[in-house]
């Protein structure tokens, strides 16, 4: 992110030290991850030691220090989803995408993540791809779901 944009972001939060989590979330909202240079700049401008910022960035699930794929595939690991077979869906996704949780596919299209409960249990097992909800997911439906996104990407090329 450009330094001027970061300055605006910090101003939006009144340069308050306690707002650091919200600031990092806004940064990630723009950049899709937390770039090292941006964190160094924020550390300087807010007078927060860089190690403290990395402490926060690595403590909370929301943040990624690595660039993430175009589509965030988020598998709900809530208890209700688990009881309905959520783990099988995750295993199938790992196979289909060829990556582990936290990793990105080589073409930069997908990053696989898990979330500890989206609070949409009636739809369980549930997988979100970006902002799209895919409810009542089964290991059988995984391939066709992923294919849809791949097709769109191909079409755009």
């Amino acid at each position: 992110m450009e330094q001027k944009a970061i300055d605006r972001l910090l101003k939006k939060h009144n340069h308050e030290q306690s707002a650091i989590i919200a600031i990092l979330q806004d940064l990630q909202g723009e950049e899709n991850y937390l770039p090292e240079k941006d964190l160094e700049y924020i550390s300087e401008k807010m007078s927060i030691p860089l190690p403290k910022i990395y402490r926060i960035a690595t403590f909370y699930n929301a943040f990624s220090l690595k660039p993430r794929g175009k589509h965030l595939v988020n598998v709900c690991m809530g208890t209700a989803c688990h009881v309905r077979g959520g783990e099988k869906v995750l295993d199938r996704l790992k196979m289909e995408l060829g990556i582990e949780v936290g990793e990105m596919t080589k073409d930069g299209l997908f990053t696989l993540e898990t979330v500890n409960c989206l609070g949409a249990c009636a739809l369980g097992p549930i997988v979100m791809v970006g902002d799209d909800y895919h409810g009542q997911m089964t290991s059988a439906k995984v391939r066709s779901t992923i294919q849809k996104y791949k097709k769109v990407a191909k079409g755009k090329k």
Binding site: I20, T79, V83, N116, L123, S139
Partner: protein, 617 residues
């Protein structure tokens, strides 16, 4: 929007709002909380707008977009007022027909009605549906009456009347006394008497005090607070304001987990409207009461539901809990006295003030007053949010309201209290929902997650699931929690993979004792509960895994094999197509076979087979 300067002006404003509204006027209420949105409710709302406009009814018929109304399994829901007709699983294509048939001609669209699976009867009226009939939605019920983004709707149902009553007629001590006598206990899981907490905070030395709303709701499978904050944020805010007055606080924080963007949005809108009307800020309604609050977003950490970790997070730190012998009511946020309560606890407060202690204490049991909202999820037919009086039995909740177990399953256990709770076996299902009774059987009330499990659920796997969750969610500070939980996980995981040994159960019990006694915070000290409760009631399952290397429920992959029942297989070939490891062979019209060496037990074939031909042994 002008600032309202005194209570009389507020009542005048309320009267004006009510005057403009005709209760007999037809209204189409469409649920559009997160669950409904996932089913496409936004398109449905647009379809209604279009249809109403096309038929020139936009001014005669109200279209109200509400938060969730509990019956998430059947979303999107459309409720037609004043007849209280409920249409379920409504598609945007149905909007036109609903307008022309039901609104204009008063005709019912039968296919959209709920059908009672027990009687086959089609039910018209929302309150006659078994899911709703058994409930006592004194708090959650208001979700259906308002658009959460419009403060006028909340005022129209009596909102902020309790706040005015408190500011004009009561003293802070008087309010604390009311809450004490009401018997209200914390709804976040601890069940601590709310009135006592308020009193301790008020009496703590110092000038500055904070009130905090814990909307972190980390228990997986529990989303009651989401339903409340999305559907009726004002109710929660009003509770916080009354609490702030009683405690002597002028500043509050609402800590919302980041996984709830819609709740965050609705809260922000509500706060903005309150500020515009002068109901938040300096000298509210001219009474001298000053109060404002901010929203603080979580970053994705279950441990931040613990009050000291939550406060560390608000302060801009990692959510690491601190020792509990310093109480947060004396030294919390920025070392100042802080009163933290759960969303649902705050939501109870205006009701208690409005309707009085006698009314409130008439609901519930001797030591658990009022109602509790549960998220009834898992292997249950009617998944959703339900509100019942304390004292109702779990059996009634699962059978009568929940409609029982789907797909011919049998009830095995109900898990309450999330990762800090335990499983209640089917044999104890007549237990009443009550703080103390649930603790007695080795579980706890928790925040309200109620996960229903059937005969196809492996209880050892459930223990493994919770330990896996906790080992990553632990902040990692103390040895017993960080290393202890991980070692418990390793032992249970080995058991599910057929590598369990004699003595494992005893080792788990020993570890459990140390972790619960020696850990710093409640995450650690309650972490052994799911393991202990599954050992207590399902020891035979553990032993089958350890001694016989078998998984009776057919879940643990290393201990089961899939095979195809020749009698049921129609050779349709669907399973073969979805198998990711090419383990299924078979020609047309010949029953298919699974090569157990290639099979990875992913379950895709079971999900696809319409003839129930895949067997698990």
């Amino acid at each position: 929007m002008k600032k309202i300067l005194d209570p009389r002006e507020l009542e005048k404003f309320r009267a004006q709002i009510l005057e403009k509204r005709d209760p007999k006027r037809p209204c189409i209420a469409v649920t559009s909380g997160t669950s409904a949105k996932a089913y496409g409710s936004e398109k449905l709302v647009e379809a209604f707008r279009t249809a109403l406009k096309a038929h020139r009814l936009s001014r005669k018929i109200d279209l109200r977009v509400t938060g969730g109304q509990g019956f998430d399994e059947r979303e999107p829901l459309v409720i037609i007022h004043p007849r209280n007709i409920l249409y379920q699983r409504v598609d945007p294509k149905d909007a036109e027909e609903i307008v022309t048939e039901t609104i204009q001609k008063d005709k019912i669209i039968e296919r959209l009605l709920f059908v009672d699976p027990k009687t086959g009867e089609k039910i018209l009226n929302r309150d006659d549906i078994p899911f709703y009939k058994g409930q006592m939605p004194i708090i959650f019920g208001d979700n259906g009456k308002i658009d959460p983004t419009n403060i006028e709707d909340y005022l129209a149902i009596g909102g902020y009347f309790a706040l005015v009553k408190v500011l004009t007629e009561k003293t802070p001590e008087g309010v604390i006394d009311i809450i004490k006598r009401s018997g209200l206990r914390g709804r976040g899981g601890g069940g601590f008497p709310t009135g006592m907490k308020w009193e301790s905070c008020r009496n703590a030395p110092g000038e500055k005090r904070y009130v905090v709303c814990n909307a972190d709701e980390g228990d997986p499978g529990a989303y009651m607070d989401r339903g409340l904050l999305e559907g009726n944020p004002h109710r929660v805010l009003e509770g916080m304001m009354i609490g702030a007055f009683a405690i002597g606080s002028d500043e509050g924080y609402l800590y919302v987990r980041y996984e709830y963007p819609l709740a965050n949005e609705h809260i922000q809108i509500a706060i903005k409207q309150l500020r515009q009307y002068g109901l938040l800020g300096e000298n509210i309604l001219g009474t001298g009461f000053t109060f404002d609050l901010k929203v603080s977003r979580g970053g994705g950490a279950f441990v931040c539901g613990e009050s000291t970790a939550l406060m560390a997070s608000i302060e801009g730190n990692a959510g690491e809990p601190r020792a509990k012998h310093i109480h947060t009511v004396e030294s919390g946020l920025w070392d100042k006295p802080t009163n933290l309560n759960n969303v649902e606890t705050w939501a109870n407060v205006p009701l208690i003030i409005h309707k009085g202690v006698d009314w409130y204490t008439g609901i519930g049991t001797e030591n658990s007053k009022g109602t509790k909202i549960f998220s009834l999820v898992g292997k249950v037919n009617n998944t959703g949010l339900v509100e019942v009086p304390m004292g109702m039995t779990i059996k009634e909740i699962v059978d009568d309201i929940g409609g029982g177990i789907p797909e011919n399953g049998t009830l095995k256990a109900v898990q309450t209290g999330g990762p800090s709770g335990g499983c209640i076996p089917a044999s104890l299902i007549d237990i009443s929902v009550d703080f103390d009774k649930l603790t007695e059987v080795g579980s706890m009330m928790g925040s309200g997650g109620m996960i229903v499990m059937d005969d196809k659920t492996c209880m050892v796997d459930i223990a493994r699931y919770f330990l896996n969750f906790l080992k990553d969610e632990s902040c990692g500070k103390c040895t017993t929690c960080r290393d202890g939980i991980r070692r418990m996980y390793e032992v249970v995981d080995a058991i599910t993979r057929g590598k369990g040994k004699e003595g494992d159960i005893e080792l788990l019990e020993e570890l459990s004792w140390v972790i619960s006694e020696a850990s710093l915070c409640a995450l650690g000290s309650t972490a052994p509960n799911p393991v202990l409760s599954t050992i207590r009631y399902f020891r035979d399952e553990y032993e089958a895994h350890i001694r016989d290397k078998k998984c009776p429920a057919g879940v643990c992959k290393a201990l089961i094999t899939y095979s195809i029942d020749k009698k049921k297989c129609t050779a349709c070939g669907k399973c073969k197509k979805v198998c990711p490891s090419d383990a299924i062979t078979g020609k047309k019209k010949v029953p298919h076979k699974i090569d157990s060496k290639k099979c990875i037990r992913c379950g895709a074939c079971i999900a696809e087979c319409k003839f129930d031909a895949v067997r698990i042994r």
